[in-house]
């Protein structure tokens, strides 16, 4: 393979002095107007934005913020989709010596209020009408908040609050300030020091209110450098930025790595078009939480079920070969020539096309992290020939600390620590990390900081061990680990991800800590099961009705039997129930990154849990649920409890 670009990770020396704005300024002047820094799809066309444009936009926003009264260390929050303006706002904040705070776009008003208030945010960048509405409704409750800045004019014609200002006006203020003080921007950038706080990042928190992690410039930059030392990228590479900026993984890829390497960031047209846009770009590197890969797997499985006999046979052949070859590689065994020949056949007949459809045809390294990924999903991608790697990290290390290396991939581990990072296991099994990327502490929460940061070691709250090959195995969140009937520890996530490998099951929740047997609460995938029911000529009107059909229970039972296979008897699912609704982050059942909030659901559905461990074969539900559009519905139903015929 020939690359025009150069491997650059060694060229940037990270000193105590270096900050994100300094690096940004350096790169922008180096690449100038000859190189595309980012692209955004607008009106059906990919519009390029050069480093020169990038620099100018950032400069005027930064100066605009200064002219609005931003002072050193003031917090500036951002909310909205992935788009150039969002990133400009963040870099501009850092250039103006502020601290960036990102919010998830789908945050409910209460979450927005909590974060804006807790972080003492002074300025808020919202995208358009929706974000502005949210901000206006909390404006009076957040006394520190002074201005709300918006950039999408759609629907904004009737707003006249004096604390609203458009991004264009902010940039205009910046231009005026530049005329008065032409050297100000550079002076601001040169003032920065590496150990200063760059970002205040709120963790999603499966257990409690979000905590604000303080990350320095040095944290972010060393993170990018260490990851890129493992898997170098080129400045000619493409990366698609479509996951929320409020997720540390996206910050790591777009800013920590993106600025150092100088690869092109691509922003999709709309969130709904992301998958299609990824295919158009064909990124070289990808980092996504397991749910994105799970979604891809589901898409392939569903299309497979839908396709014609001959296509199914080809697919079966290619996956058979793919799995065989992947297993040989996992076992570090040589691949015999005849398997290589078959692999070639599988590649040209199915896999190449399939990868293209998933947007993975050019991917050199695909990473997954943020939550546990099931071995089934993991093998699926390797069988397809995608170099998928697990990573392990958290917001508190500004991204990741452990990653798989090429040719040394084990699907039940997360690999080796990245350079500059030490990982050890405490006596009770907790994973501890030490590296230059470990965060500075939690904002306004010294107790939590004391518990998490001890002698420079980060106490992760995750349990794990290091295996014979030196790979880290992450077991589960410490508090989530089950004790089975035979006294052995058991990670519920393992079983949950196995269950989710079925295209019919969207979410799963496994119960059984210190109980006689394991049971599961499952959420069917409405569209996939719905389609299956249509083909079987089964009538239903709602999710709730569909989930309770005996035929659907039979279908789900089959999926459970598949997941139960090869598990010891005590770890098998014995009873299950189909929930009447999907688990939702808006109901606090999942975090914004779609992790199950176990303690919360256990409390909320305590009747169901009790019924699963009684002799009843149904549980009565009488509850009110709220739909996303604000309507409420009274649900009165009996949920069936099914015993699996193991």
């Amino acid at each position: 393979m020939q690359h025009e670009g150069s491997v650059r990770q060694n060229e940037i020396e990270i000193t105590e002095d270096l900050t994100i704005p300094k690096l940004f300024y350096q790169q922008a002047r180096k690449y100038g107007k000859d190189r595309v820094a980012m692209r955004e799809k607008e009106f059906g066309i990919w519009l390029p934005i050069t480093w020169q444009d990038y620099l100018e936009n950032v400069k005027y926003i930064a100066l605009g913020l200064i002219s609005l009264g931003l002072e050193d260390g003031d917090k500036v929050a951002m909310i909205g989709d992935n788009r150039p303006e969002g990133l400009w706002a963040e870099i501009a904040t850092l250039c103006a010596r502020g601290i960036g705070v990102w919010l998830f776009r789908d945050c409910l008003i209460d979450e927005v209020r909590y974060i804006i208030d807790h972080s003492d945010t002074k300025f808020l960048f919202g995208e358009g009408q929706e974000e502005v509405d949210k901000a206006i409704s909390i404006f009076n409750e957040c006394p520190k908040l002074q201005k709300i800045i918006w950039d999408d004019p759609k629907g904004m014609r009737n707003y006249d609050e004096d604390y609203l200002i458009s991004l264009k006006e902010v940039q205009q203020l910046g231009r005026e300030l530049e005329k008065e003080q032409p050297d100000l921007f550079e002076a601001l950038i040169n003032k920065g020091q590496g150990e200063e706080i760059a970002l205040l990042f709120y963790t999603s928190g499966t257990t409690a209110l979000p905590k604000g992690a303080l990350l320095s410039h040095h944290n972010m930059l060393t993170m990018g450098q260490h990851l890129m030392a493992v898997d170098p990228c080129l400045d000619t590479d493409d990366y698609v930025s479509y996951l929320p900026f409020a997720w540390i993984g996206e910050q790591m890829m777009s800013i920590s790595c993106g600025l150092q390497i100088g690869y092109t960031l691509n922003f999709p047209e709309e969130p709904e078009t992301a998958q299609e846009n990824i295919r158009e770009i064909g990124p070289h590197v990808m980092f996504a939480p397991p749910r994105m890969y799970e979604q891809m797997t589901r898409t392939v499985q569903v299309k497979y079920l839908d396709s014609t006999w001959i296509k199914r046979k080809f697919y079966e052949f290619s996956t058979y070969v793919g799995y065989k070859v992947a297993n040989l590689k996992f076992g570090k065994k040589p691949v015999p020539w005849y398997w290589k020949a078959l692999e070639w056949l599988a590649t040209i007949s199915v896999q190449k096309k399939l990868k293209d459809h998933l947007g993975l045809s050019r991917v050199r390294n695909a990473y997954t992290g943020g939550a546990a990924m099931g071995p089934d999903h993991f093998r699926f991608f390797h069988a397809l020939g995608v170099n998928l790697k697990q990573i392990y990290g958290q917001t508190e290390v500004a991204g990741i600390s452990v990653v798989h290396r090429n040719g040394d991939i084990k699907f039940d581990t997360v690999g080796h620590p990245i350079p500059g990072t030490e990982v050890k296991i405490a006596e009770d099994g907790e994973i501890l990390t030490r590296s230059p990327s470990v965060f500075l502490g939690y904002y306004k929460n010294p107790e939590a900081t004391e518990k998490t940061l001890i002698d420079g070691w980060l106490y992760s709250g995750d349990k794990g061990f290091i295996d014979d090959d030196g790979h880290l195995v992450v077991f589960d969140r410490t508090k989530d680990v089950f004790t089975l009937k035979d006294g052995k520890p058991f990670a519920p996530q393992y079983l949950e991800t196995r269950l989710k490998f079925s295209p019919y099951i969207r979410d799963s929740w496994v119960i059984g800590d210190k109980k006689d047997y394991i049971s599961a609460v499952l959420c069917i995938d409405y569209s996939v099961v719905g389609k299956w029911a249509d083909e079987k000529k089964l009538n239903y009107t709602s999710y709730q009705e569909l989930s309770q059909m005996p035929e659907v229970y039979d279908l789900v039972e089959k999926q459970i039997l598949q997941a139960n296979k090869d598990l010891p008897d005590v770890a098998k699912v014995v009873k299950f129930i189909n929930l009447y609704k999907e688990l939702d982050a808006d109901d606090d059942e999942l975090t914004r990154t779609r992790k199950l909030r176990r303690a919360f659901v256990e409390k909320r559905y305590e009747d169901i849990v009790a019924a699963l461990y009684s002799d009843n074969d149904a549980v009565h539900i009488d509850t009110i649920i709220k739909y996303e559009d604000g309507r409420q519905a009274h649900i009165k139903t009996d949920l069936q409890i099914r015993k699996v015929a193991n």
Binding site: F43, G44, K154, E269, E270, E272, D629, G630, R631
Partner: protein, 265 residues
């Protein structure tokens, strides 16, 4: 926004005078008169079979009334065919979506640009020079003005027949807008939509009525009283061929204050 039916202010864009339309012995419209003012949203309500759709069909030329005058911008248009009225700046959507199911969203909307195509058959058949340039301009218009407004970026290359009903309605509205009309006739744009889709559609209607770019006068037939009262500048009530009222007080009396918003729960 307040509903007021006082006739007077504003330029009259469309005027119906004493319209009679019968099918056999059934008088669907028996002497209807109304005025539609420029820049406003006018709604017509009434029970099923009241003649609302017949009236719309008369306005846009699918039906020709037996008696009465239809004038548009002061000009009598009774004799004009639908496509001639379209050229005058009138477009519509239908109660049951009338889209070309086998064509893509983009092609459906392109069709709405038909009346703005200037190049002839000769240049069109070789697709060069003027036609190619024109095509690009139309595509730009569609992308920047319509697809962006209707928020249908994710489906632009999908065949319309495969889309859910709510999206088909949006595509149909998009096609009607592609004509760049001055008067837009919307025949039950909200029927069969769920609450979220209703809210989106109501927002689009307000956008095309209020945005400087569009400023389109809308004639709306709708059963959803909550939305009608929220959107409209004027409301007419039609009852089996007769215009019985045009005033908010009477509407309240007719429907009851509480029922106004009880239509969609």
């Amino acid at each position: 926004m307040t509903v007021s039916n006082e006739v007077g202010e504003g330029e009259v864009l469309l005027e119906l005078e004493d319209i009679h339309m019968s099918f056999g012995k059934v008088a669907a419209l028996a002497g209807i008169s109304l005025k539609v003012h420029k820049g406003e949203i006018h709604s017509i309500i009434g029970p099923n079979g009241a003649g609302k759709t017949v009236m719309m069909n008369c306005v846009n030329g699918l039906y020709h009334p037996q008696k009465g005058t239809i004038s548009y911008k002061g000009r009598r248009i009774n004799h004009l065919k639908p496509y001639e009225r379209a050229k005058l700046g009138m477009s519509r959507t239908f109660q049951k979506v009338e889209v070309f199911g086998g064509m893509t969203v983009l092609d459906n909307i392109r069709l709405g640009r038909h009346i703005h195509l200037k190049s002839g058959i000769a240049s069109g058949s070789v697709w060069a020079g003027k036609t190619a340039k024109e095509e690009i301009e139309h595509r730009r218009f569609i992308e920047e003005q319509i697809i962006d407004l209707m928020e249908i970026e994710h489906i632009r290359h999908k065949p319309v027949g495969m889309l859910p009903y709510g999206l088909q309605k949006r595509v149909e509205l998009g096609r009607a807008l592609a004509l760049e009309p001055e008067l837009l006739i919307l025949d039950e744009p909200l029927a069969g939509l769920n609450l979220e889709e209703v809210e989106d559609m109501a927002r689009f209607i307000l956008d095309i009525n209020e945005e400087e770019r569009w400023k389109i006068t809308c004639l709306l037939v709708e059963h959803d009283m909550g939305v009608v009262m929220d959107l409209s500048h004027r409301v007419f009530v039609l009852n089996f061929g007769y215009m019985i009222v045009d005033g908010p007080e009477v509407i309240k009396a007719y429907l009851g204050e509480e029922d106004l918003y009880a239509t969609r729960r």
